[in-house]
């Protein structure tokens, strides 16, 4: 091997109270696809920010092509040939594709010329894009193409991709991988961040594994099993959740012909949704983000109302009832966004427990809050769901994602719901907390509750679901038994490749 493209040696970065990166060193060769693996909070994002010039290291050095490399800001990083595709926060919804691309370039040509360039490059890499469309109207897969094209137009030597496949259908992932392999063959190195182990095994040449800010191993992922990689990431072995529930033939929830316009600009309409959920059953609902997941949860929880008999709980029409009335009848929900939707960030855990538990746990009487009971309820959640926190007086904001998620799910589970609807129950949660949450959902189903689990994590859905359905542009497919579904079948249910085509290699 010649000179490595990028050398990291002894990078350390500390934030108050936490060492995000502790003496991390590794090399990336030109044309190499290098995976960066680790759980949430392992320090992957911080490391990438160091390389992209968003933060500077406390100590340690980087070298690019053998020359010292210390970007002061992202512009300097881009000028040195380092480009990045972000997981969040990097597109401007109200601007057009071409404008978004222009903002990510340092010397963007005039709009007309840029549009032509976008078309040329996007066709060459099999990622067709119309430069004049507004980004807010694009699907998640198309939005990602905008980011990739933005990077490719600058001929990067190193392309950093942060969790690029979390928003894609399996078919779209396949096309993305073809594009990445083509880039790698042309000599562009790729630093690929993910926690999807099978993807890393099929795509990456090398992997660096981080745990709690430290590099714990380097390996060739194709030579390891997914379970071995997971063990290196987590540090212990994980048991897959067990389930022994029997689905009864009694219907718990029935939705028929549900149509809802979007609540806000760039939202998705629900189109003619019908589903039947039996007692003791887990229905997994997959689909790419932004295909109506939030809207479906809102329609089921009662945040958005519809005609009374479009939603029936235990045979009773509830479509016109609000969330509190539905909770009273036993239909509970835990939305995706933990801070701000499922929990109030600046309120204590006791107060947050009270907010949804007040009806079914009788925590208030005649308008007066029974604080002792509310605190007791919060303590029960903390105890039974192993929420790591000093106590129920702590603000929700202070909990880590995984702990808060355990609290949010526990709060609903302990209310003995007839039907529980959860959206992305393990999003951004570390592997052991995710396993605990899945097990809690399965235990609830065993007790006879019916569960709808909306998620973008297909592995999770296959693990816990009895039946599987997919949301695609506001339509819900017919639910099929989850056992025996292949990844191709699931992909087609999710809407296939959304008009993508493979790279013209």
């Amino acid at each position: 091997m010649g000179t490595p493209l990028l050398t990291l040696s002894g990078l350390t970065k500390a934030y108050p109270g936490v060492v995000a990166n502790d003496d991390v060193s590794f090399d990336i060769q030109p044309g190499e696809v290098h995976a960066l693996l680790g759980e949430n909070g392992a320090g992957k994002s911080t490391l990438v920010k160091l390389i992209y010039g968003l933060v500077s290291p406390d100590s340690g050095k980087m070298a690019l092509n053998g020359m010292p490399y210390a970007p002061a800001n992202p512009n300097a990083a881009r000028a040195s040939g380092v480009a990045m595709v972000f997981q969040h926060f990097s597109l401007f919804d109200a601007l057009s594709v071409a404008e978004n691309v222009a903002l990510g370039m340092d010397n963007s040509p005039p709009q007309g010329e840029l549009s032509t360039k976008i078309r040329t490059v996007s066709d060459a890499y099999g990622l067709p894009l119309d430069p004049h469309r507004t980004v807010g109207d694009l699907s998640a897969g198309e939005r990602q193409r905008v980011e990739i094209i933005r990077c490719l137009l600058q001929d990067p030597q190193l392309l950093i991709m942060d969790e690029p496949t979390s928003v894609l259908t399996p078919q779209e992932v396949e096309i993305l991988f073809k594009t990445l392999r083509k880039l790698s063959a042309e000599g562009t190195a790729i630093l690929y961040i993910s926690h999807k182990l099978e993807e890393i095994r099929s795509l990456c040449d090398n992997a660096t594994i981080l745990r709690l800010g430290k590099k714990v191993a380097t390996c060739i992922p194709a030579q390891k099993t997914a379970a071995e990689l997971a063990e290196m990431m987590v540090g212990t072995s994980l048991k897959p959740p067990k389930r022994a529930a029997e689905v009864s033939s009694e219907v718990a929830l029935h939705v028929s012909g549900l149509n809802l316009p979007p609540a806000q600009a760039f939202g998705t309409s629900l189109r003619d949704i019908s589903l039947t959920l039996h007692k003791g059953e887990v229905l997994g609902i997959g689909g790419v983000a932004g295909n109506g997941q939030d809207e479906l949860l809102a329609a089921l929880s009662g945040e958005r109302l519809c005609a009374a008999d479009q939603v029936k709980l235990d045979g009773k029409p509830v479509g016109n009832l609000g969330p509190t009335a539905r909770r009273h009848l036993g239909l509970l929900a835990a939305p995706e966004e933990r801070l701000g939707h499922a929990a109030v960030p600046d309120m204590s855990l006791t107060e947050n427990a009270l907010l949804t538990g007040v009806t079914r746990q009788a925590l208030a009487k005649g308008g007066w809050i029974n604080w002792a009971a509310a605190k007791g309820y919060a303590e029960r959640i903390i105890h039974q769901f192993d929420v790591r926190t000093p106590g129920p007086h702590v603000a929700a904001r202070a909990l880590s994602g995984g702990n808060l998620q355990k609290f949010v799910i526990g709060r609903e589970v302990l209310q003995a719901p007839h039907v529980l609807v959860v959206n992305q129950p393990t999003w951004g949660v570390d592997a052991s907390a995710a396993a605990a949450i899945r097990q809690a959902l399965l235990d609830l189903a065993t007790q006879g509750s019916a569960i709808i689990c909306i998620s973008q994590d297909l592995d999770e859905l296959m693990e816990i679901s009895d039946r599987f359905a997919a949301l695609n542009e506001g339509h819900l497919t017919h639910a099929r038994p989850a056992a025996g579904l292949t990844i191709e079948e699931i992909g087609l249910m999710m809407g296939g490749a959304h008009g993508m085509e493979a790279a013209h290699v």
């Binding site: 933060v55 512009n75 990097s90 401007f92 222009a102 903002l103 963007s108 600009a265």
Partner: protein
């Protein structure tokens, strides 16, 4: 009532004058809001501009110098707001309201010795032949430079926002400040510049009131025009063209109701006085009924987390 006493030519000509202060203030606020900042201090910056422009013009005898100083005074006051909201991350709504109250008080203090004085008159632009065209010439071409400057500013702002890279960056910052930061743009600096520009425009608008439109200094003479400017920006869907339309509509109804008052219309004066506010808001509400979006980061505090 004697309607014949209302001269349509004079009416239309004074409409342009009446609209100009509002147009300046609203255009400045448009840029501020496009950068994602909600500055409710327009009224305070306008009246500070009005009093400082007036004082400087009276003392120096030069209206031009008055306008320049009004712009500087408005910008300085707005930088106080920028410091509070962008550096100390204070609440934008509360800081804006405080700025208005502060501006009203400060201007009353500064203007104490200047009540009842006449400012040096701002010369009309000599447009020669054009002003001699019957009717149109009298309506359009007999004004001072500031009237045309306000219109030119609206066009320049449109061009800046939609045709220049700097304008694109400004819109990007207002749309998603986290993304703009991640791409390496200096969100806080860009917003400081936008806020200062907004302050300067509001200051000039205020000075136009005290130097041309009224022309004299009275306490609280902006009389809510700053608030109308704020409403105008929202109802104009953050588009400079519509801001012109709204400002001229407001100016038109305002001039008309003054004329009606003078002609002794049989409507109580209070109703006439509220009509420009009502009509402007009503028309713009109807216009903004179509789908239009505020800059997505508007009013949200930005704090770089790394």
């Amino acid at each position: 009532m004697d309607l014949s006493s209302i001269n349509p030519v004079l009416l239309l000509a004074s409409l342009m004058v009446a609209a100009t202060p509002l147009l300046f203030a609203a255009l400045g606020e448009l840029i501020v809001e496009r950068a994602g900042v909600l500055n409710l201090g327009v009224e305070g910056m306008m009246i500070t501009g009005a009093v400082s422009g007036f004082i400087i013009a009276v003392e120096s005898g030069s209206p031009a110098l008055g306008f320049i100083c009004a712009a500087i005074a408005g910008a300085l006051l707005s930088l106080l707001f920028a410091l509070l909201t962008q550096v100390f991350l204070a609440n934008q709504v509360a800081s804006g309201l405080a700025l208005t109250l502060f501006g009203l008080g400060l201007s009353a203090l500064l203007g104490q010795g200047y009540v009842g004085i006449k400012p040096p008159s701002t010369p009309k632009l000599d447009l020669g032949m054009l002003a001699d065209i019957p009717f149109i010439g009298r309506v359009l071409f007999t004004h001072d430079l500031m009237v045309y400057l306000a219109l030119a500013l609206a066009i320049a702002i449109w061009f800046f926002l939609h045709r220049t890279r700097a304008g694109l960056i400004l819109r990007g910052v207002g749309e998603n400040h986290d993304a703009a930061h991640a791409l390496g743009y200096k969100v806080v600096m860009i917003r400081f510049a936008a806020i200062a520009f907004g302050g300067a425009c509001a200051g000039v608008g205020g000075a136009y009131l005290s130097l041309v439109r009224v022309p004299q200094w009275t306490e609280g003479m902006t009389a809510g025009i700053g608030w109308i400017a704020l409403a105008l920006v929202v109802f104009a869907s953050w588009k400079p063209g519509r801001v012109i339309l709204g400002a001229y509509l407001f100016g038109g109804v305002n001039v008309l109701q003054l004329n009606l008052q003078a002609a002794g219309a049989a409507i109580p004066v209070e109703y006439l006085a509220m009509s420009p506010y009502l009509v402007t808001i009503l028309v713009l509400v109807i216009m903004s009924a179509e789908r239009s979006r505020a800059p997505a980061s508007l009013g949200r505090p930005f704090h770089a987390s790394h």
